[in-house]
Symmetry: C2
Subunit: 141 residues, 2 copies
């Protein structure tokens, strides 16, 4: 019984959503929402951002991002500093505590997945490695 390409696409979508949901559930700080963690991860990967920059990157409104940043600031994970060149801008960056929580969460998320990948036959790990390349290709198109 051969599946159609449309069915293969549908299967891939469902598998990716399920695995993504499961991975996202592995968090280091239970009080932090996905949106909050996404902001910390963006700052971790690409350094300081303005509020508008973060809002555009995460595709939420500026007031919504302002609220998220306020929460992270209250938790001590980010800090605001005035931009020396443009008085309207505020640079938002990770504190040491913010950097730590990102590393911890990434490690924890990877630990769960790595434990499951480790138990697969070598051949299956090869399939996943190639699938990763294909998914990257699909996303970048």
């Amino acid at each position: 019984m051969q599946k159609t390409i449309a069915e293969q696409g549908s299967d891939l979508r469902m598998a990716v959503f399920r695995l993504s949901r499961r991975l996202r559930a592995q968090k280091a700080d239970d009080g932090m929402s996905d949106g909050q963690f996404a902001v910390l991860a963006a700052l971790y990967v690409d350094g300081a951002h303005t509020l508008t920059g973060l809002a555009e990157r995460e595709r939420v409104s500026a007031p919504s991002m302002n609220r998220t940043v306020n929460c992270l600031q209250d938790s001590g994970y980010v800090e605001r500093s005035a931009d020396p060149d443009d008085g309207r801008k505020t640079n938002i960056s990770l504190t040491d505590a913010g950097t730590s929580i990102v590393s911890e969460t990434v490690t924890k998320r990877d630990a769960w997945l790595t434990a499951r990948v480790k138990d697969l036959p070598k051949e299956d790990r090869g399939v996943l490695a190639r699938a990763v390349e294909l998914m990257e290709e699909i996303v970048s198109h």
Copy 2:
């Protein structure tokens, strides 16, 4: 250059997150939330459910599911009927309109991904199909 298993896990996590984000951005544009659509899809795949059954399946509280079902009922996509054997239960099932909207939405949501899968060589589609099985296995563990 051989990657470690931990690096493979990390690569897989990032690829899944990116593809998931990209797929979610291909929104259905029909005023229906993800939660509402998930309920229709569950009824479509597995037939009628009770309210509690739906709540457990989607991992939300019963009141939350009750509200979702109320919205879907108001939209004419599902209907409630008394269970003949147990007066406490209500069976929730798709209407004809509900069945139609599921097919339409699935087609629309998958169109983007299917178009990209279609352009891959046959071997690569085989890799993705096997990767889907592996991801399902990983999630169910």
